[in-house]
């Protein structure tokens, strides 16, 4: 009578979003192609010196990953907002945090995970040593869910604005800064043969904080946007 359990609603929504992403797979591929293009422009722009490239590789790959994530964030809640689905979610009686978790998980699986899987290739392009490449994959695996979760807050805040995309990037980039600093520092440390577990630990702490706090912040923002 009172509808499905939260876990049932979560899997239903996750499945639906993954199916929708599959149906629009060319659209989903755009941020990834953007990432590849941005990273491959660097050897052309700064010169193909292997030493220089391996020095800037962690920063370049991470910044490109941030840009690619922000590109895909604007559509996180927008289509559901525009066709009334978000309103239906609110009325379903399911906690909005559950909706946010399902949608963010789908976003990470379609935008973040492919990025993690592509990163070894990018590391080779940028002449990053093997140890650095390994840590780069770790940092992206821990970091991209945080990007999706923090991005969900920005996406929820700007969903009711007609052209929210630019404001969204202004909102979330400052929040990404600590992550960027710690992640690139970990990769550089690994390349230099220094310990990097401390940085990875900090990133994990960030992931736990984002996982527990961001869904509630984003659902509060969604409620504001729907009024």
């Amino acid at each position: 009578m009172s509808g499905t359990k939260a876990s049932g609603a979560l899997t239903a929504l996750l499945k639906r979003d993954l199916l929708l992403a599959y149906r629009r797979r060319s659209e989903m591929a755009q941020p990834l192609i953007f990432l590849l293009v941005v990273v491959s422009l660097f050897p052309l722009g700064v010169g193909p010196s292997p030493q220089l490239l391996s020095l800037i590789a962690p920063g370049v790959i991470w910044i490109a990953a941030l840009l690619a994530t922000v590109l895909s964030l604007d559509s996180l809640f927008r289509s559901d907002f525009e066709d009334g689905s978000l309103e239906q979610f609110l009325l379903s009686g399911q906690p909005l945090a559950v909706i946010v978790i399902a949608k963010t998980a789908a976003h990470w699986l379609t935008a973040g995970l492919p990025l993690v899987l592509l990163s070894p290739l990018l590391a080779v392009w940028m002449n990053l040593p093997a140890e650095g490449a390994r840590v780069l994959v770790f940092t992206l695996a821990i970091g991209t869910p945080v990007l999706s979760l923090i991005g969900a807050i920005g996406g929820a805040l700007t969903v009711s604005l007609k052209r929210g995309g630019q404001l969204l990037s202004l909102l979330v980039f400052p929040l990404y800064v600590p992550l960027l600093i710690i992640a690139t520092n970990a990769v550089s440390a690994a390349v230099a043969g220094l310990p990097y577990t401390g940085q990875l630990g900090l990133m994990l702490a960030g992931l736990v904080a984002a996982l527990t706090l961001a869904p509630f912040a984003a659902s509060a923002a969604l409620k504001l946007s729907l009024e």
Binding site: G3, L20, E82, E227
Partner: protein, 189 residues
């Protein structure tokens, strides 16, 4: 600026309230307040013990929340999984809605009336007692209106409640209802 002048009504089991009024008189606003999407700036809604606006109502508004990239069946299946399956199988709901011949087609290929029917699948899925329908007859053909009236009659007979808005000549047919005329709160309107 108040959207509409003071309103007051009580609904009990098996009742249909038809809210009428000119364009801009606040019919959609009233429905959205009842649904719990909007908070009233004044006044209150009292519900019987154990009922809450969100868990116990189904809302079908102007935005149909039908996904273009999903087929009719996939859309209905999602509503069932999300809102709680009713007593009908997915295929049977499509049949009841007159969408059986297009059930495998992406919703983007449907006509406006067919999309409306697809959104009305929500009424079949949840088994929730309060139906909030904003202009449910718009875009529906004669057969679609008959189908909706049949659904409504069954819902009201089983003790359900419905609040429906309409601005024109499209009205429920074949059963009793109360009418409530809404007047704009803006004296210049």
């Amino acid at each position: 600026m108040p959207v509409f002048e003071p309103v007051s009504f009580t609904l009990s089991q098996g009742e249909l309230l038809l809210v009428t009024g000119a364009n801009g008189s606040g019919k959609t606003t009233l429905i959205r307040i009842l649904a719990g999407v909007l908070q009233p700036s004044q006044g209150e809604i009292r519900r019987s013990a154990g009922l809450s606006g969100q868990v116990h109502s189904v809302y079908v508004g102007h935005q149909l929340a039908v996904k273009d990239d999903l087929s009719v069946l996939e859309n209905i299946r999602f509503m069932q999984a999300f809102l709680g399956a009713g007593d009908l199988a997915t295929e049977d709901i499509a049949l009841q809605l007159g969408l059986h011949h297009v059930r495998q087609q992406a919703a983007r290929t449907l006509s406006a009336g067919q999309r409306k029917r697809c959104a009305l699948a929500r009424l079949h899925t949840s088994g929730r007692p309060l139906w909030l329908l904003d202009e449910p007859y718009s875009n529906l053909d004669h057969e679609g209106m008959t189908m909706l009236n049949g659904l409504l009659r069954r819902h009201l007979d089983s003790g359900g409640v419905c609040v429906m808005t309409t601005h024109g000549s499209l009205r429920p047919d074949g059963f009793a209802f109360r009418e409530y005329q809404l007047h704009s709160g803006n004296p210049r309107a």
